[in-house]
Homo-oligomer: 305 residues x 2
C-alpha cells in the first residue's frame, strides 16, 4: 500500500511517521529539535529522520512528504520562516530541500492546519463537513477544515482563531491584543499567571501548575479560569464557523474531560446553530494528528489559494 | 445588457431593483413589508414588485431573480422560515413560487450573505479575496465571502459572526449567550441600554438614542461602548478569517466615521495578519448592497454545499 512521511515540527520536538493512504501509522521517530545535525546543514535532522523511515520501509520510497511546522510558514512557497521558536537550520524552503534529496513531492502547512486536517481526515472529525481543531500547548493553535480543504484567508494566509479576544482586560499578547484566548488559556498563560501570583517559581511548566493545583486552591482558580475561557472560545468558534465538529487537543489541556464538559455546556446554549448542532470531542489521534495530517497533505490534495 | 432582479427583504422594508451584469442599479422599488398584498397570497408583494420592474424594463425578462432575506432561511431548498420578523405570506419556498410565476432561475440567501456578496462583487470588497461584511441594524448581521463564494458552515448553514461573545458579563441574547456582539452593539442593544438607564422612553429607536446623546453624556457613553465593541468585533473577525477587507454597513452605526476609526485602531494592533494587512471600509453601496448581492447570486453562481 502507498505510504507517505508525515512530519510534525513543534518548538520543542520533531516527530516523523510512516502513514499509509488509509491514515494508519507505522514506524514513528520522535526527537528533540536539533539544529546542529549534519553540522547545522539546512533541515539536516529532517533528512536523517526521513532516511531512517525509508530504510525501515525496506527502501520503498514514499508517495510524498507532508510537513506541519510551527509557524509562521508560507505554504505556497514551501517556506518555514519562524525565527521565534526554531533554529537557523530549520529556516527556508523545506519543500525544495526535501524534494531535492528524496525526489518526491513535498507539502508544507502550519502545524495547526496539519493537525486539523489529520482530525478531519482520520480523527474525531472524520465524516464531518466543517471541522475546527483547537490545540492547547505552549500557545493555542487552531485550524479549520471544510469539505477536506484547509480554510485559508487573504493571500493563502492562516487564520488565527486562537488569538481572538475574549476579555479586553486580559494580559497583553504578542499578537498585539489584550485578553486573546492564547493569552488567557495557553500553557504559557497558565504558568505566567501562577508565577505572577507567586504560586510556582519562575521557570515552571504547565504540568507544574497542574501539580500545584492539587494542594493550592489559588492554582485551581487559575486553571478553572483557563477552562472557562477555552469553553467560551469553543462556543465562539462554533458560532463563527457554523462548525459541525470541534476537536480539543494538546498537552496543556490539563484536565481534558473537564474542559470538554465545560465546552459542551457552553455550546449547548447556542440557539442558532446548524440543525444537527455541534459535536465537541477530544482528539482521538493520541498526539499523532500532526503526522497523520502531514501525510494527509500528500493523500488529500489541498488548494493553495 | 443582461439584467437581474435583486430583492432585499428586511424585517421592516422590502426593496427590489434592476441590476445589470456589471452591478449597475436601474429602477428601484422600496416598500414597507406587506403580508396582505394580493389578499395575503404567498409572496404576493414580491410578485407585484418584480412585475413592476419587468414592466419598467419594457417587458424584457430578467436573467434571474436573487433574494436576500432576513433569516432563518434555507438556501438549498429556497425556503424562508422566519416567523420572528416576517408575516405568514413570506414563509415557504420563495424560489419555487417566483420561478413558477416568472419562469426564470431564482436564488435565495440570508440577507447578511447577500449584502456581503454585493460588497465583494461590486462594493468596498471588490477585487479582494476574503471579505467580511458587518451590517449593524436592528441586529448585527455578518457574512463572509471568499474568492467570490459565500462561506458556509455545516449542512450549508450560515455562520453567525454577529453572535460571538465579546463580554461574558453582558446582556442575555436570544442566541443563548451573554454579551455577544449583537447584544452589546446592535440598534436594539443601544435602545435597551438607554431605556434601562431611563435616558429615553420605552419604544424609542436607535436614532432617538443618537439624538439624545447630543445633550446627555450617559447616552454618549452607551454609544461609545457600542463603538468599542464593534471595533473589537472587527478585530476578531480580521483574526478569525484572515480577511483582507472588512466592510461596515447598516443604519444603526450611528457615527460611521467614528466606528471606522475605532475599528482601524483596533485592527492595526494585530501583528499576525496577512502580509498586506486588513483594509476596513464603510459600505460604498449606499444601502443597495442587499439588492446588488441578490443580483450577484444570479451572475456569480454560488456553491450551495
Amino acid at each position: 500500500m502507498s505510504w507517505a512521511v508525515g512530519i510534525d515540527i513543534g518548538g520543542t520536538n520533531v516527530r516523523a511517521a510512516q502513514v499509509d493512504s488509509t491514515g494508519s501509522v507505522g514506524c514513528v521517530v520522535a526527537e528533540p529539535v536539533d539544529g546542529e545535525r549534519r553540522g547545522g546543514a539546512a533541515f539536516g535532522q529532517l533528512i536523517d529522520m526521513v532516511t531512517e523511515l525509508i530504510a525501515k520501509a525496506g527502501g520503498e520510497p514514499p508517495a510524498g512528504i507532508g510537513v506541519g511546522a510551527s509557524g509562521p510558514v508560507d505554504p505556497r512557497r514551501g517556506l518555514i520562516k519562524n525565527p521565534y521558536t526554531l533554529p537557523g537550520a530549520y529556516q527556508g524552503c523545506v519543500t525544495q530541500r526535501l524534494a531535492d534529496v528524496f525526489g518526491v513531492p513535498v507539502r508544507l502547512e502550519n502545524d495547526s492546519d496539519a493537525a486539523a486536517l489529520g482530525e478531519a481526515w482520520k480523527g474525531a472529525g472524520a465524516g464531518a463537513q466543517t471541522v475546527v481543531c483547537v490545540t492547547v500547548g505552549t500557545g493555542v493553535g487552531a485550524g479549520v477544515v471544510r469539505s477536506g480543504q484547509i480554510v485559508r484567508g487573504a493571500e493563502g494566509s492562516h487564520p488565527e482563531p486562537g488569538h481572538h479576544v475574549i476579555d479586553p482586560a486580559g494580559p497583553l499578547c504578542y499578537c498585539g491584543a489584550r485578553g486573546c484566548v492564547e493569552s488567557l488559556a495557553s500553557g504559557n498563560a497558565i504558568v505566567a499567571a501562577a508565577v505572577r501570583s507567586g504560586l510556582v517559581p519562575s521557570g515552571s511548566t504547565a504540568a507544574d501548575v497542574y501539580a500545584a493545583a492539587v494542594t493550592l486552591p489559588e492554582c485551581r482558580w487559575i486553571l478553572e479560569r483557563s477552562h472557562a475561557v477555552l469553553a467560551l472560545a469553543v462556543r465562539n468558534l462554533a458560532v463563527l464557523y457554523a462548525a459541525d465538529v470541534i476537536v480539543l487537543a494538546g498537552n496543556a489541556l490539563g484536565d481534558p474531560e473537564s474542559v470538554l464538559a465545560a465546552a459542551r455546556r457552553e455550546a449547548a446554549s447556542y440557539t442558532l446553530g446548524p440543525p444537527g448542532g455541534v459535536r465537541i470531542s477530544l482528539s482521538q489521534l493520541a498526539g499523532m494528528a500532526g503526522c497523520i495530517g502531514g501525510a494527509g497533505l500528500v493523500f488529500v490534495p489541498q488548494d493553495a489559494s
